[in-house]
């Protein structure tokens, strides 16, 4: 039977995948996806724990995360669009005007 542990392991795995994506990806869009993956991993964890405790708070948290992730994407994409207009690229390595 699939228990809490399985969910938590899955959640941890997906979180790590998301994290690796954030660390390794060079395209900003992919980076955003990776962060979404991470947040969704958290959602899995919350839902599972919520079920385990038979407590709705976790699911509430998950809903809030979904909402925030959505607005994050909205704002993020907006910024990306103006950036793309200015730079013509979404490659991370092109984005190093400021350093030192």
């Amino acid at each position: 039977m699939i228990g809490l542990t399985h969910y938590l392991v899955i959640s941890a795995l997906i979180f790590s995948i998301g994290l690796m994506g954030v660390l390794r990806r060079r395209n900003l869009l992919m980076l955003f996806f990776a962060t979404e993956v991470m947040l969704n991993a958290v959602n899995i964890a919350f839902a599972a724990i919520s079920h385990y405790y038979n407590d709705l708070t976790g699911q509430m948290f998950a809903f809030f995360i979904i909402a925030i992730a959505a607005s994050e994407v909205a704002v993020g994409l907006g910024i990306l669009i103006v950036l793309y207009k200015k730079h013509g690229s979404l490659d991370l390595d092109d984005l190093a005007n400021m350093k030192g």
């Binding site: 390595d93 984005l95 190093a96 005007n97 350093k99």
Partner: protein
């Protein structure tokens, strides 16, 4: 009587200030006259005080005001006029007055005439403080004061250039002045330490308090204090090894040499030993050392005088030698004899210097006696004066030197220190030789100066007259020996020859006299007829050794002056700049460099930033795990 004390003390000060007012203006003869009059006033006051002390037998003690008081230390400006100080006062003011008058003539053509009088009177003032003070700190004021005045006066012709040691052994007046000051400072440190020792063991620096407390002190404290004070005396009285400055000090104008470097200041060391006789008489080892050193210096200086060609330097060496005699006497406990020789020596030595000054004046500042000769025609009076002074110096009866020096030599015999006695006797012979070598080479024989186109002339009349008191005293002072003894031994411990010595005294005197006469005869035979140079002798090692003052100045330069300069340079450039400062800057540079290094993490690349975050979290996790293991 207090008024007299203050007159004696402050008249020279007034004189100095008065002359200083005109210090930067051109020569004004009245400055010299006023200064001399004030000095004469001081002399009169001193003489009256002397008479007072003589008649009443009691000293005068005045306290003017507080000087320093801190903690438990209280130092007043206090002055004491007793048998010892009044003797010194009289001698000092007398010689000073003569020298002041003399200087009016001698410094006639100098543009800094007024300044000279200012310095000279300031010196007398300092010297008066030195001898009159009722405490060691006051003595130290005068001690340093005469040091500064000596510095000013040696370097009086400061505008002269530095030359090599071969050309002029003293390099330049300003060099000689600095040398004198610094060497004296070395000794002054010893003196200061002596003061500290006395203060912390007695709680005061007043003579009377200190001397009264001496019996309660332990032997080591007494010895330490005596040694320290004597180191001070060694500097001022130019005892070996701090003697080189004295001959170099001859760079100063001749009246200065007469006053400071013959009659007064250099005897301050002897005065100190006499003043502190309660201390020194309780430390026989130190006293014996003083006597031995004095004897050594007497011989050592006389040996250098034998071959010197410089008129003033010969006299300077003789001063050194006579100081050695005085220390020998003081060290052997014959304080009153030392003081007696001090006074007598002041008269004839000042006279000798002033005579030398006349010669210089006549010879246009030429000092090499090999270039003189036959001056007696032009300078009869000077010849007489110098002759008298030399006879006194050589210890020929009935001149003053005979009595005083003979007493010292007799003391050495009396104390059983035969070795010292022998040396002192030999030295007496040497003294007679070099004195007359100088007199004969200067005044007798062929007129070598003509080759240099010099036309000598006698000094001004009033100058010669002014010198006469010294000449008279040089002749007659010796007869006052008994009176003097009676006078000063009210304060100083009396010293009597033992029966044995007393019996032999005639014979001892004759031995000394024989040596002295022998010296004169030798000088007569070699130099009376004129200068015959002996190349072989002059090239011998001993001759060169003596002529170069045993190479001691060169030695000092090689082992002290130059290494000090080198070490200083090294301290600055290598230690201060390259180690101390570089460390400080190094820390700053390190921080700056680490800034440069760490800003590299700020690549500007977002990916790197995100990686840093990951690294950070791993770092935190690692710490977490590690601490979890230890919890």
């Amino acid at each position: 009587m207090e008024t007299l004390v203050y007159i004696a003390l402050f008249a020279p000060f007034a004189s100095s200030l008065f002359a200083a007012l005109f210090g930067m203006s051109p020569k004004q003869t009245f400055v010299g006259i006023v200064a001399s009059l004030l000095l004469f006033a001081s002399f009169c006051a001193s003489a009256m005080l002397a008479f007072h002390v003589w008649t009443t037998g009691a000293g005068i003690h005045v306290t003017m005001m507080d000087w320093i008081s801190a903690g438990d230390l209280h130092i007043p400006f206090g002055f004491v006029v007793d048998q010892v100080s009044v003797t010194m006062m009289t001698v000092v003011t007398l010689v000073s007055t003569v020298v002041h008058v003399y200087s009016i003539g001698y410094m006639d053509h100098d543009k800094s005439f007024n300044r000279f009088f200012s310095y000279l009177s300031a010196f007398v003032f300092s010297m008066m403080i030195l001898v009159m003070s009722d405490n060691f700190a006051g003595l130290f004021i005068g001690w340093e004061g005469v040091g500064v005045c000596s510095w000013l006066l040696i370097g009086f012709w400061y505008h002269k250039e530095d030359v090599s040691r071969e050309e002029n052994p003293s390099i330049s007046p300003s060099w000689a002045a600095n040398e004198a000051f610094i060497m004296n400072r070395i000794a002054d440190l010893g003196m200061l330490i002596g003061l500290f020792i006395l203060y912390w063991n007695v709680g005061s620096l007043q003579y009377d308090v200190v001397f009264a407390a001496l019996p309660d002190l332990s032997g080591s404290v007494l010895n330490a204090a005596a040694i320290a004070l004597f180191i001070g005396a060694m500097g001022k009285s130019a005892q070996f090894p701090l003697h080189t400055w004295l001959t170099d000090a001859m760079e100063g104008p001749t009246p200065v040499s007469a006053l400071i470097h013959a009659a007064t200041m250099v005897t301050a060391g002897v005065f100190l030993v006499i003043r502190a006789n309660p201390l020194f008489s309780m430390t026989p080892e130190v006293s014996y050392f003083i006597a031995a050193l004095g004897t050594f210096v007497a011989f050592f200086a006389a040996s250098m005088a034998l071959v010197n060609r410089d008129l003033k330097r010969i006299i300077a060496f003789s001063t050194l030698s006579q100081l050695g005699y005085m220390f020998a006497a003081a060290g052997l406990g014959a304080y009153w004899i030392a003081l007696f020789h001090l006074a007598a020596h002041a008269f004839f030595k000042a006279l000798l210097f002033l005579g030398a000054g006349n010669v210089m004046h006549a010879m246009h500042d030429e000092l090499d006696i090999f270039k003189m000769g036959g001056l007696k025609k032009a300078m009869k009076w000077t010849y007489i004066y110098m002759g008298v002074a030399s006879l006194a110096l050589a210890g020929i009866p009935p001149f003053a030197g005979f009595f005083s020096k003979d007493a010292i030599i007799e003391t050495a015999f009396n104390e059983g220190t035969l070795f010292l006695w022998v040396i002192l006797v030999v030295t007496a012979g040497m003294t007679a030789f070099y004195s007359f070598r100088q007199v004969f080479l200067t005044f007798e024989g062929d007129e070598r100066y003509k080759a240099f186109g010099i036309h000598p002339h006698e000094m001004y009349k009033y100058v010669l007259i002014a010198m006469s008191p010294l000449a008279i005293l040089a002749v007659i002072a010796g007869f006052a020996q008994g009176t003097f003894e009676h006078f000063v031994t009210k304060l100083l411990p009396d010293y009597h020859m033992s029966e044995h010595t007393h019996h032999l005294s005639m014979m001892l005197g004759l031995i000394v006299l024989a040596f002295a006469v022998g010296g004169i005869v030798l000088a007569y035979r070699k130099y009376y007829k004129g200068l015959k140079r002996d190349k072989k002798l002059e090239n011998s090692f001993t001759y060169k050794l003596l002529a170069n003052q045993y190479y001691i100045p060169n030695l000092y330069e090689a082992i002290i002056t130059k290494p000090y300069a080198m070490l200083s340079e090294m301290m600055w450039k290598d230690v201060d700049m390259k180690i101390v400062d570089a460390t400080v800057d190094g820390i700053a540079k390190f921080l700056y460099k680490s800034g440069d290094a760490s800003r590299k993490m700020q690549t500007g690349n977002l990916s790197n930033y995100l990686n840093w975050m990951a690294v950070g979290s791993v770092f935190l996790l690692v710490i977490a795990v590690i601490s979890a293991m230890f919890v």
